[in-house]
Symmetry: C2
Subunit: 357 residues, 2 copies
Amino acid sequence: MTSRILVMPGDGVGPEICREAVRVLDVLAHDHGLDIELDEALVGGAAVDSAGDPLPEDSLAAAREADAILFGAIGGPKWDSQPRDKRPESGLLRLRSELGLFANLRPAILYSQLAHASSLKKEIVAGLDIMIVRELTGGIYFGKPAGQGTTDAGRREAWNTMRYDEDEIVRIGRRAFEIARARGGRLCSVDKANVLDVSQLWRDVMNELATAYPDVELSHMYVDNAAMQLVRAPKQFDTIVTTNLFGDILSDTAAMLTGSIGMLPSASLDAAGCGMYEPVHGSAPDIAGQGVANPLATILSVAMMLRYTLERGDLADKVETAVGAVLDRGLRTRDIMDDETQVASTQEMGGAIVDML
Amino acid sequence: MTSRILVMPGDGVGPEICREAVRVLDVLAHDHGLDIELDEALVGGAAVDSAGDPLPEDSLAAAREADAILFGAIGGPKWDSQPRDKRPESGLLRLRSELGLFANLRPAILYSQLAHASSLKKEIVAGLDIMIVRELTGGIYFGKPAGQGTTDAGRREAWNTMRYDEDEIVRIGRRAFEIARARGGRLCSVDKANVLDVSQLWRDVMNELATAYPDVELSHMYVDNAAMQLVRAPKQFDTIVTTNLFGDILSDTAAMLTGSIGMLPSASLDAAGCGMYEPVHGSAPDIAGQGVANPLATILSVAMMLRYTLERGDLADKVETAVGAVLDRGLRTRDIMDDETQVASTQEMGGAIVDML
Ligand SMILES: CC(C)[C@H](C(=O)O)[C@@H](O)C(=O)O
Ligand SMILES: CC(C)[C@H](C(=O)O)[C@@H](O)C(=O)O
């Protein structure tokens, strides 16, 4: 059965990194029997510019029909002063919500070849391999009521609601327990249950779920402590599960521990395993169009797509092995370069992976 | 005029570290003309045990009458299963709220003598000196509505409200601009304005305030990016201002960058400059009563008290100089020890500071 893949390049470096990832998909299709059909759609600032909407109707329709989406990056100073619903970010948020992509998987892996790039001491981060499972369609990102108004005294006020119900917590919790089981068997749930009612429910439901996963060791940590522990001793973590907002903050912290955010992929999955795959890094408007962006996070997002949606773990392994081999050969884009390595353009890096495959 | 200081030792290592800080206050009173009167009150788990309330009426009354509070630490596994209003934390939250302690100052300073303790590379953190100004009596910690209920479908749900009005933002903003002006002149306001309405109001008000502080350079950063930048290149920051929840997370991240959280003091101030002073570290129940806790964060909290409430900057300098001198001599409590230094007990460390003074 042919899988439909929608490419949404977005803004900034999005188009150039997606181009390299598509070359990888092409070679897998031609040489390794991957049965796919590619389509492309506008999203983000590019869609605001051409259609006045960061997620135009036809883009959303195409996304609904796709089995998997390869997403580049969105945003840039050009659109920062737009009203919130016309900002690139709101296209992304609507996409997550409309497609029910509630499970955001953000691995933070340190490639041994790039250990020098971390701002942390080598012994603290060598071998780092954490999976952060972030709830992506609930919590304060989507809670109602939300808005601005005025108090009785005529002063401006504004509010957002952090809300979860147990069904939302159960579905992300199950996904996280399953992922932890397939990894190191340890799951740390991060909340702020000493202050927030919504965190207390989160913690209660995680504890209830735990009885169905006796082989997974569940622990709990407050978010402030988790942020500290990530800096102090990140290798203590195996799999982390947390809410939308805490996951936003902690997954970026964890990513930066590696020092090579240009290497990190992510997946956003729905209940059926369809999903959106994108690099963790942003649209980097300052270097867009120069051919210096690192395409490896996007190429590794293709590997996640192969594993989680296309059920071709064999090809996912191939892509990941190719990335390792290219790093071993000393090829580096500018962001991960050091004195002993050789600088490659976006296209050269993509080409090197294609050649390996 | 005699200043009234209330000591609230709390739980875990709280009593033993407060004891050393009180010795420091005593010597300043006897030898350096500091005019103070000391009193003591129960708070936290200790107060739950003896009065069934983490902030008994008479403790609150004593706190209201004090010019400054020296606070130890609260909490421990013993009280974790209590209902939320009987937990040590809620005593602390009520104290902040009842006394109007809206401005939480959390410096993250790396002592050159302790640079080895950081999990970050030396060149990334050497000379680190950040001040985080956290809003402490609003936001999601106190927003209404908050609670648990059931949905129409009979499922449990829970919610908290992140709310600010412009008066709350103005008062913390002014305080932060003034602090930034007295430091490096750069203020970074951290929010999530690309997603949250309440952050958009926060950002708008900060921008409005900026016109009154032309000598301070205001910038804005999203909280996820701020968490990354703290790990990547923390020295880019001078003063950070942010909301209650983001400040909770980011100030702990920043503290941990130094690797010596046993050294970090904090202040929580009201509109008049009265305040509560406490170490950033927690109650550490695992080492309580062993005489190994580091009293320096509490002693440095006394220095902050001297500077911000007692208006004795001269004595604050003396205390800070004494701490530096004791570190120079190679004296260390267990938490900050290395191969070349000499281990000191809580009491020996306190005594060394007292001797210096
Ligand atoms: C762009 C923004 C809305 C988004 C988020 O906060 O979820 C981003 O930071 C991310 O983590 O994917
Ligand atoms: C104990 C807890 C309620 C408190 C907070 O979240 O404010 C603590 O983490 C702090 O930062 O002082």
